[in-house]
């Protein structure tokens, strides 16, 4: 491997450097995931739900900023009417002062003059079974995809695509853990979208590798060169698709505001990382695993050979 790395052409060197970078990023992500964990949102943790009414109608925005001043943690305020609101907040761990703070503030403020109707603990929106089922689903999906690709392509390319997929998911999770961005059901949905995107990207590069390998079955070019050629010929496509998708996600990120922020961040990272990994992992790993044109030589029996040899 070291040999290829030093002697290879420019493209190959870039690919291996990218792979090294990926490995470092994965290690960092795993490190922050184990150290900091994910900042699970109310959907997952549960929390407190407080319903209150105000004596006169208040704008949701004003109330939101008023409570934000008197609340240390994160909360979710929804309007049930002009003077009827619901506030969801995470259970406070260290002190209970947080939740009392805003409640006394809104009840004592003369303009708002709120009256708390009820306050109760709310369990998580997703059961424990979702977590188990989710893991099972992901695992099954990966095995199935790997099997399909192994049959259609070759096991080395299949491993490359699936490793690239796992890489993308770990990096996105790592970012969410590092920045402690809230991980809620919407972000989970975007992870699922990343799976689709990442696979798509890896397969398109992998498919071209296969095609060129088949053509080059007489071993003129080294696998490294073939992979480089495959990447070069799909690069425009990769950049255009990533570009248009990123443009969509970026406009959601900039314009849609809070409800879709986590969704947009996850997807944006996922697409950038996915494009990167389709080149540096999905196409490079098979080379390390010993991919060569020989894997694609068509085995022909004597009968077919004679048919082929016929003029």
């Amino acid at each position: 491997m070291l040999n290829t790395f030093l002697k290879g052409e420019k493209g190959t060197r870039l690919r291996f450097m990218g792979m090294l970078l990926s490995a470092i990023l994965v290690l960092l992500s795993v490190f922050t995931l184990t150290q900091k964990g994910l900042n699970f949102g109310l959907d997952f943790t549960g929390g407190y739900l407080t319903e209150f009414t105000t004596s006169q109608s208040v704008e949701l925005k004003e109330l939101q900023s008023f409570i934000a001043k008197n609340h240390n943690g994160e909360f979710e305020l929804t309007a049930q009417g002009n003077s009827h609101f619901q506030l969801r907040e995470a259970p406070t761990t260290s002190t209970t002062a947080n939740s009392l703070d805003w409640q006394s503030a809104v009840t004592q403020n003369d303009d708002i003059n709120a009256q708390v109707l009820s306050s109760a603990y709310i369990g998580s929106q997703v059961g424990d079974e979702l977590f188990d089922q989710g893991c099972l689903a992901m695992f099954t999906a990966m095995i199935a995809v790997m099997l399909y690709l192994a049959v259609r392509f070759e096991w080395r390319l299949a491993v490359g695509s699936v490793v690239a997929l796992v890489h993308d998911l770990i990096l996105v999770l790592g970012l969410f853990s590092l920045l402690q961005i809230e991980f809620n059901l919407t972000v989970l949905a975007s992870l699922l979208a990343i799976i689709g995107y990442s696979l798509n990207d890896s397969i398109i590069v992998g498919d071209r590798v296969r095609e060129l390998l088949r053509v080059q079955s007489n071993n003129v070019l080294s696998p490294a060169t073939i992979i480089n050629n495959a990447i070069k010929s799909t690069l425009t496509r990769t950049l255009i698709t990533s570009g248009t998708t990123l443009a969509t996600v970026a406009s959601v990120w900039l314009l849609a505001g809070a409800p879709l922020q986590g969704f947009a961040i996850a997807l944006f990272t996922g697409i950038v990382v996915g494009t990167f990994s389709s080149i540096c992992i999905a196409a490079t790993l098979p080379e390390l695993l010993g991919l060569s044109a020989k894997n694609y030589e068509v085995k022909v029996d004597a009968h077919t050979q004679t048919l082929l040899d016929m003029p």
């Binding site: 109608s57 929804t78 399909y148 010929s233 900039l254």
Partner: protein, 612 residues
């Protein structure tokens, strides 16, 4: 599947046939998507409450003035014979108006009813817009109370019954079980004290949370069973968890994907269902407590059960197995056309059934149907009925059916409940309310604006980069969006949320990929010196394999997520899978025909000098 015709110029007949087929599919999907241009409007239907003393409604004018004063501007107020129908300027505030009217006029009944606004011919086809989720359109909120005390009582009675049968089974003479105020106790006479321990051990292995205190009362040894505080809270937690799981799967069985089910406080459950107009069916299924048990008949001792056909019967209080071991249940009809429920048991249930039926061929077995209901005093009581006693004709295994169902509806409900699991504790709906959307209208319009912008950028880019081919891609893209929306409107379980819309546009964004792959390939072929028409043929042909592989793998993922996932994951998987289907359809087939037509015509007009 994605093979393309090898001949350079397709025969006109073939060409026309596929052209027509494609057109029919596109038109059908476009018609299904059409109702989305006419979103439903939420009207308030105000009528007198059924049991109110005063049978008078406020006049339409008074009501409209009242709502306007509340800051809820009325767009239209219609006076029907017995109801007043009101449409607000902002229909999303209907839930709020409902609460305001109820508070002001307690004798009225206010319903929120969705009125379709699409032309009647679309409604006649049974077509409707995609249902909107809790965040966009609100829905119905139920708060259920779980009767944990009742569940504990039931559990203690069951433990007592089982204690009695354990004593008989172990032939522990001199040992006797007896019910007490807070549970039950087992007494052992002096000569039988050694037989007490195995009974206690057996019982504790079946009821882990039960606490036992042994004492010597003179020469009699007594073991008192009850729930300790710790055991009780462990039991409560278990029951709540099980109830939540069961309710979630029942809601899923009803075909509602984007519902929110969570625990509220210690013994309540909060369920939010999106856009459910008539919650009667949901209520019937959510609150249902029906369960099944299969019992052996007893001539001596045993518990007395009522027969559905009248009379009583004595059964062994310990069931052979219960509904918990049922894997799958479906409705069917017997030879006389009467409804029945076909069951298949899991491993444990199958084993129990197999051993029991083998040893008892020719003997009868009873099927007991139990349900909680409220009696006249408002107390929750359990009603158990033997619906069926049948002789075991042969050695049964894990598949058999229950006959003698009252009606088709009863059979269908029982099958659904058996699939979703039964509730250990009775639940009652204590609160029902219509709720408004959880996202503000500003959030929604911002989100939509962002998506429009993203879509616009994509369309503009494609048109600039690929010129004429780009226009084809854009037409394919818009057809793709129409087809996807059409498909989603046709499926009853699909609910659209704001993240769902974002996912939808993302799917469309990724669908561009199909065209990009093909067009890049065409450019490559052109560089290799092929004529435009051949380049297009070759480009589509070469790209087809790649597109096929990429979409199949993603489809595998989507199907697995749909099969194993739950709730929001399932909803996302549906959108993903449908998006793949439509993008292959429009991106490969439709755009191929479009480009062929375009270049074929141009080839005739201007020779081969078209640019790609």
């Amino acid at each position: 599947m994605l093979s393309f015709k090898k001949d350079k110029k397709p025969s006109t007949a073939k060409f026309k046939l596929s052209y027509i087929a494609m057109l029919i599919v596109l038109v059908l999907l476009a018609i299904s998507a059409l109702p989305n241009l006419y979103p439903n409007k939420s009207w308030l239907h105000i009528s007198t409450a059924p049991h109110s003393e005063t049978q008078s409604l406020p006049s339409t004018k008074t009501l409209v003035t009242f709502l306007n004063n509340q800051g809820l501007e009325v767009e239209q107020g219609v006076d029907k014979q017995s109801t007043i129908n009101v449409l607000l300027n902002e229909p999303t505030k209907s839930a709020q108006a409902q609460a305001a009217i109820k508070a002001q006029y307690p004798n009225t009944q206010v319903k929120i009813v969705e009125h379709a606004t699409s032309p009647t011919w679309l409604q006649d086809f049974g077509l409707s817009p995609i249902k909107l989720g809790l965040d966009l359109n609100g829905g119905v909120l139920f708060v259920l109370d779980v009767d944990l005390d009742k569940a504990v009582d039931e559990q203690l009675v069951s433990a007592y019954q089982q204690a009695k049968s354990i004593i008989i089974k172990q032939k522990a003479h001199g040992v006797k079980a007896q019910q007490t105020q807070h549970g039950f106790e087992i007494n052992a006479l002096p000569n039988a004290t050694d037989k007490l321990t195995p009974v206690i051990e057996e019982l504790q292995s079946r009821f882990a949370n039960l606490a036992v205190v042994t004492s010597n009362n003179g020469s009699v040894k007594t073991a008192k069973f009850s729930y300790s505080e710790q055991g009780r809270s462990a039991f409560d937690k278990e029951v709540m968890g099980q109830t939540l799981t069961t309710l979630r799967s029942r809601i899923e069985e009803l075909g509602i994907t984007e519902a929110v089910t969570q625990q509220q406080g210690k013994h309540r459950i909060r369920i939010e269902l999106p856009g459910v107009q008539d919650p009667t069916e949901a209520k019937r299924i959510i609150g249902a407590t029906a369960s099944l048990g299969f019992y052996q008949l007893k001539e001596i001792g045993g518990q007395t059960f009522n027969m559905q056909s009248g009379g009583t019967i004595k059964l062994d209080p310990v069931p052979i197995f219960t509904g918990d071991h049922i894997n799958n249940a479906n409705i069917g009809r017997d030879d006389w056309g009467k409804p029945l429920v076909q069951l298949s048991l899991d491993g444990q249930g199958g084993d129990a059934m197999s051993t029991f039926s083998k040893a008892n061929i020719g003997k009868p077995m009873a099927t007991v149907y139990s349900e909680y209901s409220q009696n006249a005093k408002g107390e929750v009581v359990k009603k158990s009925e033997v619906i069926n006693v049948a002789n075991i004709a042969q050695h049964l295994s894990s598949r058999f059916s229950i006959t003698n169902m009252k009606s088709q509806q009863a059979a269908a409900d029982l099958a659904l409940l058996l699939r979703a699991g039964s509730l250990t504790a009775p639940v009652t709906i204590v609160h029902e309310q219509t709720i408004g959307p959880s996202l503000g209208s500003e959030n929604i319009s911002n989100g939509l604006a962002a998506l429009m912008l993203g879509m616009g950028i994509t369309l503009a880019f494609m048109a600039l980069w690929y010129r004429r081919l780009g226009l084809i891609a854009n037409v394919a893209l818009i057809l793709n969006l129409t087809s996807l929306v059409g498909l989603m409107s046709l499926l009853p379980g699909v609910v659209l949320t704001l993240p769902g819309i974002a996912g939808l546009v993302l799917t469309i964004g990724m669908a561009v990929d199909t065209n990009v792959i093909i067009f890049e390939r065409i450019k490559e072929e052109r560089r290799q010196g092929r004529a435009p028409y051949q380049a297009i043929q070759e480009g589509y042909k070469q790209a087809a394999n790649t597109i096929f592989d990429a979409n199949i793998t993603t489809m595998i993922t989507a199907l697995i997520l749909y099969g194993i996932g739950y709730g929001p994951v399932k909803g996302f998987a549906i959108t993903l899978a449908l998006g793949l289907l439509t993008s292959v359809f429009t991106g490969v087939y439709v755009s191929k025909i479009l480009s062929q037509t375009l270049y074929l015509k141009m080839g005739k007009k201007a020779g081969v000098k078209a640019h790609a």
